[in-house]
Symmetry: C2
Subunit: 414 residues, 2 copies
C-alpha cells in the first residue's frame, strides 16, 4: 500500500509552524509497513485542496489528511473531500453530544460553528478524538482510502495511535497486525550501535530490527507480525535477549522515555537521591532531571558554578585547587571529583555527578574545545572520574556530556 | 509569483527527520512577497522526483528544491532536472577547485564521486555554497524558474540568505528589493502585542508590520521596498519609533537574538554580573544564560534548590522560613526575595534573580499549578518581587517564568 500525507493549513505555507505532523505520521506508517512516497502541504483553500486530492489519488492508495477539521470557515478538508466524492455531510450524534456536554458543563454559550466538528462524510467511519472535539473520518471510495485527522498534534497523535490505528489495521486487511517495541540506548553513538548489531540486523527478518531516530537519541525498533500481543511479545523478547548480549550495557529502556526519566524511576524505586555540580553544562543536567514531573523526591538540586569563585563559594573547593602555579585547575579530573563529592555531601544525597570542561567556541585553561571531565560520586564507594573528547557545536558538546554522565549514573543505579 | 518548495530525501518520508527546511524557505519567501501554494516532499527516486517536477510546473512559476545535491548515488536532483529539461551537466570550475583544495589541504584522498558536487545544469547560474561543497543552481527554462539548494540546513540557510537571495531578487525583476528588520519582544503575549499595535498594523501599508513566529518567541517583521538600504533604514526607523511609543518596554532587540543573549550583552557592556537561584525552573535559566558563548564573564552561576534542605544548605535560608506552622513556605514572596538576594551575595554579583513556584502536574504547599514568585535583587536597590499565574504544560510554565524574570532583568540593565 502506498500512502501520501496531506497536511492542510496556510500557517505551514507561511512558515509559521513546522510540519511535525508529517514526521509523526510517516514514522507510524513506516512501522505499519506502509510506504510513503509523497508528503504534501496545501493551504486553507478549497480549490487547491481539491487539486491536492486529485494529485494524491493519481499516485497513492491511501491519502492521510491532517488539519482542517475544526469549527471555523477556514476548516475545509471535510467539505472539499465530501464534494469531491459527491457525498453529503451527516451529523455523528455521539460527537455532537460530546460537544454540547462540554459547553453546557462549562456554562459557556456554544457558538453554532462548533457543531461543524461533529460532521462526518456520509458512509465514512467516525474516528474518536480523545483529546478534542473534531471527529476523525475513515473512508473507502473508488478504491482509494482516505483518513482524516485533526491538525493539532495533541489531538492528532492520540487518534493516530488509537481509533485511526484500528481503522488502518482493518484497511491493511487480513494481514496479521504489526507489533513493535522501541528500545532506547545511551552511551553509544548511532553508527557504533549499528556496527555492533549489523550481523543481527542483516541476519534476521522476523522480528525486524530497525534504527529509529527520535529527537537526537539512539533508538531501535523491533517489529513483528503476530495475531496476538502475547505471541508478538514472545518473539520480540527473544530478539531483545540477543540484542542485550551484544549491547546490554547501553539498553536503558524498552519504551519511549528519555534517559533522565529512567534514572529518576530507578532512583525512586531504590529510595535514593542525586545532586549535581555543573560547570560546562551550565544547568542542563538539572534542567533535564527537573523536567520529569515529581522529580523533587529524587533530585535534590545542584549548583551551576561557572566561575572559580562560585566553585569555592558554593562547593568549598579550595582556590589553590583551581588556580595559581601548579594547581590542577577548574578543568581537571581532581576538580571534577571534588565537585561531585561536595554536591553529594551538601545535599546529603546518595549520588553526586559533575561535569567540567570546554564547550567552546575557544579553548580555556589552555585545554581544547570538547575536553570534558565527568565524575560520579556515590555513598560508600570510590568516585569514578573519566575524560571525554567530544565534537560538535557548543550545544551538542553540552548535551553529549550530560547524556554520558547520566548513562554512567544509570549503570550505577540500575 | 507562485512558488512550490520540493524537499528531496527519503529520510523525510520515513519520518527520520522533520522538514524544517520547508519552514525556513517559506518564511523567507513570505518576506519577499512570494506566495507558496504547495510544499512537497519526495524520496530519492528519479521517477518520483520527475513526477514532482511535472506536478510542480503545473501549479507554480518557481520550484525550489532542497536536498539531493550531494556526492552519493542517492543525490539525484540535478540529474533528474537536467534530463527533464533536456540539458547536460557541466563542471563549475571554481566549485571543483574548492573541492580539490579542501581534500588536498586535509591530505585525504578524494573519492571520485565528490566531483559530482561541482556539476551544474547547462545554462544555469551557479550559486555559491559558503558552508559546504555542493554548488547551488538557478535556472529559467520555458517560463519556469528552478532554484536548487542543498539539503543540510547549515548549508541551505546561508545560501538562501546569500547567493540564492540575490538570484531571487533578479528573478523578481526590476521591482525594488525588499528590506526587512525583525523586532523581538519580551514580557508580552502575541495576542496582547497585536492588540496594542493593531491600529498601526492596519493603518499603514509601507513599511508593512507583520507578526512573525520564531520558536515560541514574540516577534514582528517590519518590511519595505527601497532601492538602497539607507532609504529602507530611514523608513523602517520611523516605523520602529511608532512601535516604541506603544510597546517600547517590551522591544528588547532589533535583530534575531534571544532575550538571554541581549541580557548578556548589556551586562557585558556595563561590566556587571548575574547569579541565579532556581526552584521551579530547575536550572533552565542557568542553561539559557550559559548557552550564550563567552557568558562566564557575566553569569557567575547559580543554584538549583529543588528541596527545602538545599535552599538551607546552599543559600543559608533558615528552615523556619521554609516550613513549620506560620512559616511563609518555599513558595512565597519572601522566600523568592531571599533566594535572589542570597545568590547575589554568594556570587558577589550585581544582580540576583530567583524563581519559586508550582510547575505541576499537582499543587504544592496547597498552592495551585502555575503560581510563580519571581524576584530581582540588585546591588544598592530594593529587591523587586512579583507574582505570576501561568497557564500551560509543566515545560511551558517553566519557560514562561524564566523569560518573564529575564524581561525584568533586561528592564533593569538596559
Amino acid at each position: 500500500m502506498k500512502a501520501e500525507i496531506i497536511a492542510v493549513g496556510t500557517e505551514l505555507l507561511l512558515g509559521q509552524i513546522v510540519n511535525t505532523n508529517a514526521q509523526f505520521i510517516s514514522q507510524k506508517l513506516a512501522a505499519y509497513g506502509i510506504d510513503v512516497y509523497f508528503q504534501t502541504v496545501v493551504g486553507d483553500n478549497a480549490q487547491r485542496i481539491r487539486q491536492a486530492i486529485e494529485t494524491g489519488r493519481s499516485r497513492a492508495d491511501l491519502l492521510i489528511f491532517t488539519g482542517g477539521l475544526g469549527p471555523t470557515q477556514d476548516d475545509l478538508t471535510k467539505d472539499v473531500l465530501a464534494a469531491y466524492l459527491n457525498r453529503g455531510l451527516v451529523i455523528h450524534e455521539p460527537s455532537m453530544a460530546k460537544i454540547e456536554d462540554l459547553f453546557s458543563s462549562r456554562g459557556v454559550h456554544m457558538v453554532e460553528s462548533n457543531r461543524r466538528q461533529a460532521l462526518i462524510i456520509e458512509g465514512s467511519e467516525p474516528l474518536a478524538n480523545e483529546a478534542g472535539l473534531a471527529v476523525g473520518n475513515g473512508i473507502l471510495a473508488d478504491g482509494t482510502h482516505y483518513l482524516l485527522l485533526p491538525g493539532p498534534p495533541k489531538e492528532m497523535k492520540p487518534m493516530m495511535e488509537g481509533s485511526a490505528a484500528l481503522w488502518l489495521q482493518s484497511v491493511l486487511g487480513n494481514e496479521q497486525p504489526l507489533h513493535s517495541r522501541l528500545l532506547k540506548f545511551a552511551g553509544v553513538g548511532e553508527s557504533n550501535l549499528e556496527a555492533k548489531l549489523i550481523g543481527l540486523i542483516e541476519g534476521q527478518n522476523d522480528p525486524t530490527i530497525a534504527p529509529y531516530a527520535s529527537e537526537g537519541e539512539v533508538s531501535i525498533r523491533v517489529s513483528t507480525k503476530a495475531s496476538t500481543s502475547e505471541e508478538a511479545n514472545r518473539k520480540i523478547d527473544a530478539t531483545v535477549e540477543l540484542i542485550k548480549e551484544l549491547v546490554g550495557e547501553h539498553l536503558y529502556a524498552q519504551e519511549d522515555i528519555p534517559l533522565e526519566e529512567q534514572v529518576i524511576r530507578l532512583l525512586r524505586a531504590s529510595g535514593r537521591k542525586l545532586a549535581s555540580a555543573e560547570s560546562i553544562s551550565g544547568g542542563l543536567l538539572a534542567e533535564l532531571m527537573t523536567s520529569i514531573p515529581g522529580s523533587s523526591g529524587e533530585f535534590a538540586g545542584g549548583v551551576v558554578t561557572y566561575t572559580n569563585e562560585m566553585k569555592h563559594a558554593l562547593l568549598g573547593i579550595p582556590m589553590s585547587q583551581l588556580e595559581g602555579p601548579g594547581a590542577p585547575g577548574a578543568i581537571s579530573e581532581s576538580t571534577a571529583a571534588l565537585m561531585a563529592e561536595r554536591a553529594m555531601a551538601i545535599a546529603n544525597a546518595d549520588f553526586g555527578v559533575s561535569l567540567t570542561g570546554v564547550a567552546g567556541p575557544s579553548e580555556a585553561e589552555g585545554k581544547p574545545v570538547g575536553l570534558v571531565y565527568a565524575a560520579l560520586a556515590q555513598r560508600g564507594k570510590p568516585t569514578e572520574v573519566y575524560t571525554m573528547n567530544l565534537r560538535g557545536s557548543r550545544q551538542i558538546i553540552r548535551l553529549r556530556a550530560v547524556k554520558s554522565i547520566l548513562h554512567r549514573l544509570w549503570l550505577a543505579v540500575r
